[in-house]
């Protein structure tokens, strides 16, 4: 039975810690002059992206190559889906070419679960609809762990996540990863951009960013705000969004210098982030991207050689 990574929830705290520890080893590999190990030689990793995402795909493919896996790419624009082939037939025919792991991005929540139920191969969820993006959650947790030097966990860590939570798979997975390690996450957004029902007993939420920041915060996580949300009447105007929820220079000044500022990218400068992150001492946005490689190496290694010892990494 192959191992898959579909959500942070399925991984649990133990799984999250296992991957982050493994990511430390991978980061060490990445610092070598020749950042390549034979750990996944003879394994084939296929990225199946039914929705465009060049940077996530490149991150996964780079990770796979550094572990010496063979890589294939299936992008929907070149695919037969436009000819009416079903999702199941598509992945089964790719699987028939001999694939050990599928890295799946799909615009429909749950699609990786369906693929996992049909296929013998491992499935890594690279983002499904508004639902989950577990490797983003892991790389965010890894970034906080290294930046704040907290290998033991996130107990007492105060995180505020700001923006379009409702439509964000990043919000769901990153929150789950932070919470698995003990952090307290507060969601800040206008009610129109919060999920329709939040269990207040387990998570606090607010529509007043300034009040939440005034209470003190260790990590500010900004989400991408999309222009479409205006036409859907979820916010009146992006200008007003920035006024209420953007990281403006005034708000940035009020942060403690060591407060981490994070963003999953791509940034809408002037909207959710109205300061130059290069000028923020605590900004770790580029580290997130860099750490993405090590974390995805850890994930691919974890699903494809669950029983292997780490000799292969030396």
């Amino acid at each position: 039975m192959s191992r898959s990574l579909l959500s942070i929830e399925e991984l649990g705290e133990v799984g999250v810690r296992r991957i982050l520890d493994l990511a430390d080893t991978m980061a060490e590999v990445n610092r070598r002059p020749n950042p390549k190990v034979p750990a996944l030689r003879n394994k084939t990793v296929c990225s199946v992206f039914f929705e465009d995402s060049t940077r996530t795909r490149l991150s996964f493919e780079t990770a796979a190559k550094r572990l010496s896996a063979d890589t294939m790419t299936f992008a929907v624009s070149q695919s037969s889906l436009s000819k009416g082939e079903s999702l199941r037939d598509t992945v089964e025919s790719i699987g028939a070419m001999g694939v050990d792991a599928f890295v799946v991005r799909h615009r429909s929540a749950g699609a990786p679960w369906l693929i996992d139920s049909w296929m013998q191969a491992s499935v890594v969820n690279a983002g499904d609809g508004w639902h989950a993006h577990p490797t983003q959650g892991l790389l965010d947790a890894y970034t906080v762990r290294t930046a704040l030097n907290r290998p033991g966990g996130f107990d007492g860590l105060r995180v505020v996540m700001v923006g379009d939570i409702k439509h964000s798979r990043v919000a769901r997975s990153t929150t789950a990863a932070f919470e698995a390690l003990g952090a307290a996450v507060t969601w800040v957004a206008p009610t129109t951009l919060l999920p329709p029902a939040i269990d207040d007993s387990t998570r606090s939420s607010s529509d007043d960013l300034d009040a939440v920041l005034a209470d003190g915060v260790d990590v500010v996580y900004l989400l991408r705000m999309q222009k479409e949300r205006m036409t859907e009447a979820l916010v009146p105007h992006l200008r007003e969004y920035t006024m209420r929820f953007g990281l403006t220079p005034e708000r940035a000044q009020r942060l403690e210098p060591q407060t981490l500022v994070m963003h999953p990218g791509p940034m809408n400068r002037g909207v959710e982030i109205a300061v130059d992150p290069a000028e923020l001492q605590g900004a770790v946005i580029t580290q997130q991207v860099t750490n993405g490689i090590a974390v995805r190496m850890a994930v691919l290694f974890d699903v494809l050689s669950p029983d292997a010892d780490q000799e292969a990494l030396s």
Binding site: R88, A109, G110, L114, D128, W130, P195, P196, A197
Partner: protein, 431 residues
């Protein structure tokens, strides 16, 4: 060849009550001929010992999608009728969202004829409220009423325009027909895949809020108050909807309502599997809603159990939730779900499956009749205590999209007679 069927030993449940009598049916006349405390079998009798079983008027489904014409790959009138007979039904109301739509005499007559040809249950086509179910022009109600159509609905969609719905009720008022509404304000459900609540928030799926149903229930109740025309509410799924209908009935308004087997037994938590088998419209809701809908059936606020039998081919249900079509098959499991999930007397369950829906659909001259000499022999015999699980491969329906796999069911049809002829005998369809 015997000329009669003698059913002995059964508890008889019909609109007059519950009693222990033997019943003889004439297969030639298609009627009940003898009812007595005890009848002796003769050489002319095909004798069934139904001890421990219930004999009642055949079930009537207010809400069946037979898919023909247009989607014969999912179901035909013949396969759907066979599924109905296996479930104990002797009559079904065929929903009009066919292709072409059941909005003309020609299409309606075709559906009826196909039902007669299959000969497994009486198929009563309903008509759409608007031409092509497009929500803009009224269907010729009187033309269709003349050929026997009693129920009109745009099911699959609600009539969005309140002015058009008002006119549908006003115009149809004297025709002896009933408008049946699929309650969904579509502006509130755009893209909606499942019940809007905690589960959908967690799963990252667009929600279908309870409010979208309740607003239209409320609107139509007020239109009934205004126009004096009757209205029927299809597949109620929320606690507040049940409350609204209860209040309307208390006000003396002519409203009736149905609930489906899945809305009294399953919740939105099942969507965590991401299996589109659990996608249905209106969606599965919370346990509080499930309990309220059950309670509505128990106290009579909800009149009837209706299946919303909605067959879909396997490949379409193997898609992600937001792409798969909504719907579940239900004809063969309705009785088993009802008995397993409703804390109400068997006689009330039978009422909600038989004569109450027969009255709503205007079929009560032939179906849901008392079991008495001279009455049409549209009958069902079921075992109320048998526990069973559904096996999709054994369904008579052409599609297997049942959500009840692994769900304990109680009560199962043994025999079904349509006009005195077996359509199902000892659990097996006769044709």
């Amino acid at each position: 060849m015997t000329r009669n069927v003698l059913i002995s030993g059964a508890i008889v449940i019909d609109p007059t009550g519950e009693r222990r009598v033997d019943v003889r049916v004439s297969t030639e006349a298609g009627t009940v001929v003898d009812v007595a405390d005890s009848l002796e079998a003769t050489a002319d009798d095909h004798h069934l010992d139904a001890s421990g079983q219930v004999l009642c008027p055949g079930f009537v489904d207010l809400h069946t999608h037979l898919r023909e014409p247009g989607k014969e790959e999912a179901e035909t009138i013949e396969t759907g009728s066979r599924a109905a007979a296996k479930g104990g039904y002797t009559a079904v109301v065929a929903m009009p969202n066919t292709d072409p739509t059941q909005d003309s005499v020609a299409v309606v007559e075709f559906v009826r004829q196909q039902g007669v040809r299959a000969g497994l249950c009486d198929v009563y086509p309903s008509g759409s409220i608007t031409v092509g179910r497009r929500g803009t022009e009224l269907t010729p109600f009187a033309e269709l009423a003349q050929v026997g159509v009693k129920l009109f609905t745009d099911d699959g969609n609600g009539v969005q325009d309140p002015q058009l719905m008002r006119r549908a009720l006003e115009y149809s008022k004297g025709l002896g027909v009933t408008m049946a509404q699929h309650c969904e304000v579509e502006q509130l459900t755009e893209g909606g895949v499942m019940h809007e609540g905690e589960c959908c928030a967690h799963l990252g799926l667009p929600g279908w809020p309870a409010l979208a149903e309740e607003l239209m229930v409320h609107r139509d109740i007020e239109l009934v108050r205004l126009t004096g025309a009757p209205a029927h509410f299809l597949h109620l799924s929320t606690a507040r909807s049940v409350e609204l209908v209860g209040a309307a009935k208390a006000d003396g308004l002519q409203v009736t309502a149905e609930a489906t087997p899945h809305h009294i037994s399953l919740t939105d938590e099942l969507l965590r599997s991401y299996s589109a088998i659990y996608k249905v419209n209106p969606p599965l809701r919370t346990i509080a809603d499930v309990e309220a809908v059950r309670e509505g059936l128990v106290d009579g606020t909800i009149d009837a159990i209706a299946t919303d039998h909605a067959p879909h081919v396997k490949a379409t249900k193997e898609q992600p939730l937001d792409q798969a079509p909504p719907g579940m098959v239900g004809l063969e499991t309705a009785l088993g779900v009802a008995i397993a999930h409703l804390a109400m007397p068997l006689a009330d369950i039978v009422a909600a499956l038989s004569w109450k829906p027969a009255a709503i659909a205007g079929l009560d001259e032939l179906h849901g009749r008392p079991i008495a000499p001279g009455e049409p022999a549209n009958l069902t015999v079921f075992d109320p205590g048998v526990e069973w699980e559904v096996a999709p491969a054994l369904l008579a329906s052409k599609s297997t999209n049942t959500p009840f796999v692994g769900v304990p069911l109680r009560g199962r049809t043994v025999h079904t007679l349509l006009a005195g002829q077996f359509t199902v005998e000892s659990g097996e369809p006769t044709r």
